[in-house]
């Protein structure tokens, strides 16, 4: 396979990581909403933890984007 073609394929494959990170972020927020609707009084106190979980799940999708950008523009 041509090296350039392999790079672009790799960049496209990295988009799978972004999609899976979307699943992760959705899972974080859905679990939070599930809990928050059961006990709305406790929801506000957990927003910090919600965003820590969001940030951790999102980071992997962002890393996938970085890999795609490195493959397209740097490597």
């Amino acid at each position: 396979m041509d090296a350039e073609a392999a790079k672009l394929l790799g960049a496209g494959l990295a988009a799978i990581g972004a999609g899976i990170a979307a699943l992760g972020v959705g899972n974080v927020f859905s679990s939070f909403l599930e809990g928050a609707l059961r006990n709305p009084g406790a929801a506000d106190g957990q927003q910090g933890r919600l965003f820590i979980g969001f940030a951790a799940a999102e980071l992997l999708g962002l890393l996938a984007f970085v890999i795609a950008m490195i493959l397209v523009f740097v490597a």
Binding site: G48, F51, I52, A55, L62, L63, F65, V66
Partner: protein, 261 residues
């Protein structure tokens, strides 16, 4: 990368010297005043005006003072809930950090292209966010070693770790600690870069499909334009969330330095 007739979504991140300072240098290092520096100054000046305007210390606060007090109170609550009472001394740092990143993200989203100025988001560069992350990380290291001395290393051995597990746990915790400045800076930089690239790609769809004829313009172009408006609203949300996440993670890391765990 860009061919003729194509929209280059990466061009918006190009750093250009302004006001004829291309060859300004100190000790061999180029210190040209770039568009990145211009937007950093703009963010600092807007933040400065915002805070000065709210520091009248009136007994019955007006709208402006309420706005400033809302943000300082927000950061104060963030630090107290994450660090405890000892976190109050970090309010100036975390407040400046949060507001600076927030204003940088929002200034980069301003529709200044309408009047011919190209807005620049300096938080979409790892050099800028990396320095902010290193600042936060340095505070954690300095405070940690200052307060706890070499006892700070107990951060890498969680309570109740069985003795045979320590050689395994210690490197893992150490690596997860050392990776923090990278993940902190990388998150902000990539979130802003990805959003701006997405906006420019969609803008390219609108322009190219409209040029291809009214049929393409009305189907592809109009749909892309509606999507672009939605994504723009999402980008404002992302700008706020990423600034909040940066401040939140900084306060979580400061908690480690302040209280160990």
């Amino acid at each position: 990368m860009a061919e003729s007739g194509k929209i280059d979504p990466m061009h918006q991140f190009a750093i250009e010297p302004l006001f004829g300072t291309d060859h300004l240098s100190i000790g061999g290092f180029n210190i040209a005043f770039t568009n990145s520096a211009l937007y950093m100054v703009a963010a600092a000046v807007v933040l400065w005006i915002f805070v000065i305007g709210g520091m009248k210390r009136e007994l019955v606060p007006g709208r402006w003072q309420m706005a400033v007090e809302y943000f300082t109170g927000f950061i104060k609550n963030l630090l107290i809930s994450n660090v405890g009472e000892g976190g109050k001394k970090y309010i100036p740092y975390v407040f400046s950090l949060f507001m600076f990143i927030l204003l940088a993200n929002l200034l980069g989203l301003l529709p200044l292209g309408l009047v011919g100025v190209h807005p620049f988001t300096f938080t979409s560069h790892f050099t800028a966010t990396g320095v902010l992350a290193i600042m936060s990380f340095s505070i954690v290291l300095i405070v940690g070693f200052w307060k706890h001395g070499l006892h700070f290393f107990s951060l890498f051995v969680p309570h109740g770790t069985p003795l045979p597990m320590i050689p395994v746990i210690f490197p893992i915790e150490l690596i997860s600690f050392m990776v923090r400045p990278f993940s902190l800076g990388l998150r902000l930089f990539v979130a802003m870069t990805a959003g701006h690239v997405l906006l420019k790609v969609l803008a390219g769809f609108v322009i190219n499909s409209s040029n291809a004829g009214p049929g393409f313009g009305l189907t592809v172009g109009a749909a892309s334009f509606v999507l672009m408006i939605g994504i723009s609203a999402l980008e404002v949300l992302v700008a706020v969330i990423q600034a909040y996440v940066f401040a939140l993670l900084t306060s979580v890391y400061i908690n480690d330095a302040e209280n160990l765990h």
